[in-house]
């Protein structure tokens, strides 16, 4: 069973290091020529920018809302949770059908830059990041911290970003890593909305130059793997503090990598 899973990954390494002609030596040409493909470099940079923007936007949107709901609007908790888990039930291919008119409007009236994809990506990462931040918020005493800070004269900005967020730095880091991993691997939305991110570029390049595109695939796989490893280390360190989340969706556990 293990062989079934390791072989394709090994085969990718093998393919990307093949030399030209019979019995040629292994070569890293496919890897080193990655930078000579301007479209590919542009796509990689765009994807990295999208990953950063999505992470930041997700934090600014989700963290204040979740803290506010915990402190002042506990009845909204169910609704927020439902909204955040909805993207798991609506497949990306279905969402993009509805997003097409929205993005067409945006391209005409606001901007047609690839970075507008970040709006949709924040929605896609909602389930995973909500659960990460929720776990972090459950582990600390939000009410006491915020009341203490407010009574000392702090404004809400200070409370959120300088008091609460540092106390849940592990969860914030988790949420950001999850967003980055997801954005870097995202293909469906970008392809159908007509933007070229790194996955779309890999697919297009694959038809012309298989070696290079497989080299980039391996690189992105390794990058995602490293991210998830960091995630599990940070998660393991905080395992004792985490409380049991209420809703169990195994696809979320697939990202967390452990039983909730």
């Amino acid at each position: 069973m293990g062989a079934f899973f390791l072989v394709p990954i090994g085969a990718m390494f093998e393919f990307s290091t093949r030399g030209v002609g019979e019995g040629a030596a292994r070569t890293l040409v496919s890897w080193t020529t990655i930078v000579t493909f301007p479209d590919l470099v542009k796509a990689i940079i765009a994807s990295l920018e999208l990953a950063t923007i999505t992470s930041v936007a997700m934090l600014f949107l989700l963290l204040p809302t979740m803290i506010w709901v915990r402190l002042r609007l506990p009845r909204l908790n169910r609704i927020i949770e439902f909204l955040c888990l909805l993207p798991l039930t609506i497949p990306a291919i279905v969402l993009v059908v509805g997003l097409l008119p929205v993005y067409r409007w945006m391209a005409e009236n606001l901007s047609d830059s690839i970075l507008t994809l970040a709006f949709a990506y924040v929605i896609l990462v909602l389930p995973y990041t909500y659960r990460a931040l929720d776990a972090g918020l459950s582990a600390i005493n939000v009410k006491t911290l915020s009341e203490a800070a407010r009574s000392l004269g702090a404004g809400w900005g200070t409370v959120i970003w300088r008091v609460i967020a540092p106390n849940m730095s592990g969860a914030v880091l988790n949420a950001c890593l999850l967003s980055v991993a997801l954005v870097l691997g995202e293909f469906t939305l970008a392809n159908i909305l007509g933007y070229v991110n790194v996955q779309v570029e890999i697919a297009q390049l694959g038809q012309a130059n298989a070696g290079v595109s497989i080299a980039v695939s391996v690189a992105s796989l390794l990058f995602a793997f490293v991210l998830l490893m960091v995630l599990s280390f940070v998660g393991a360190a905080r395992r004792s503090l985490r409380s049991k989340p209420r809703v169990r969706d195994p696809r979320l556990e697939a990202v967390w990598g452990q039983k909730a």
Binding site: F5, L62, R72, G98, V102, T188, N191, A210
Partner: protein, 304 residues
């Protein structure tokens, strides 16, 4: 506070702030805090969903069932059934193999190396999909793949009857790559919930292994197994990226049919058809997830 008048004593009466409505919670102000999030989700999640569902039933400004009847085209029906078949087969294959593998891991040392490797590997592999996975398989058993070349060097040609990697059978194989780890991940907690005391109780009452599985463990694990299979079904039904990277022409499965429709001329002129197809998908996934939730509730009754 405002001064309202001068009573007899000559001291002005101060009108203090009235007690707020509804027991002291100033509701209107608090809702403002949640508004940005709700507004954002409304525009980028609820609005597209509404566009899909409403659009499926409208064309040129009026409500109509014409889009639904346009779904009766033979190639779209084929895509639909192919999607169902592919999802069902990859779900069952993934479920059976994953369950067997999970059982092998569950009966081992709970804190042993195998368990930990399998858990973290499953977490990584269940997310490994899309374009990168497709290319990994092309590199392995594609035309110039590692295994292909090796087999051909030894006299066997896996593609003697046509290249099947880029069609449905190939998709089943590739989907298995992330379905099996997902099954291991979701079924392992259920297997962990089986208490050894039940096995001992069966044996102390004179039952054999057959009795144990037929009357105790089997019925308890069945809801969990079926639920996980449903989850695998929904997962594979919604998958698009992997198939798109492998299949370059035709409408073999529903997500690709939707994508092709969106980019075609008929699709741009009549978005309703694409939206009807998408609504079809929502219905199927919603039904499957609902059944999954029902089965999960039955599972957690015994197998916490």
């Amino acid at each position: 506070m405002t001064v309202t008048g001068k009573p007899v004593t000559g001291i002005p009466v101060m009108e203090t702030a009235r007690r707020p409505r509804e027991g002291g919670r100033r509701l209107p102000l608090h809702w403002v805090g949640a508004a940005p999030f709700i507004g954002y989700v409304a525009v980028f999640l609820l609005l597209p969903t509404a566009i899909v569902v409403v659009g499926a039933f409208s064309a040129d400004g009026g409500p109509t069932l014409a889009n639904l009847s346009a779904l009766n085209q033979p190639q779209l029906i084929t895509a639909f059934t192919s999607s169902l078949v592919l999802s069902a087969v990859s779900a069952i294959v993934g479920a059976v193999l994953g369950a067997v593998f999970a059982y092998a891991v569950a009966t081992g040392n709970p804190s042993g190396l195998l368990r930990r490797i399998v858990s973290s590997a499953s977490g990584v592999l269940a997310q490994f999909g899309g374009v990168t996975l497709a290319f990994a398989f092309i590199a392995t058993i594609g035309g110039n793949g590692f295994i292909t070349l090796w087999l051909q060097a030894h006299g066997l040609d896996p593609y003697a009857r046509g290249v099947w990697l880029y069609e449905l059978p190939g998709l089943v194989l590739v989907y298995a790559y992330f379905q099996i780890p997902l099954m291991v991940l979701v079924f392992l907690p259920a297997l962990d919930g089986i208490r050894p005391q039940w096995r001992e109780a069966t044996e102390s009452l004179g039952g054999s292994t057959w009795h144990y599985w037929r009357y105790v463990a089997g019925p308890l694990l069945l809801p969990a197994f079926l639920g996980c299979t449903l989850l695998l079904f929904a997962n594979s039904f919604s998958a698009y990226a992997t198939a798109a990277a492998l299949i370059s022409q035709g409408d073999p499965i529903l997500p690709i049919a939707i994508a092709n429709l969106l980019n075609s001329e008929t699709g741009i002129a009549q978005p309703g058809i694409g939206q009807a197809l998408a609504s079809e998908m929502i219905v199927i996934v919603a039904v499957v997830m609902f059944l999954y939730a029902v089965l999960q509730r039955r599972t957690t009754r015994w197998l916490r």
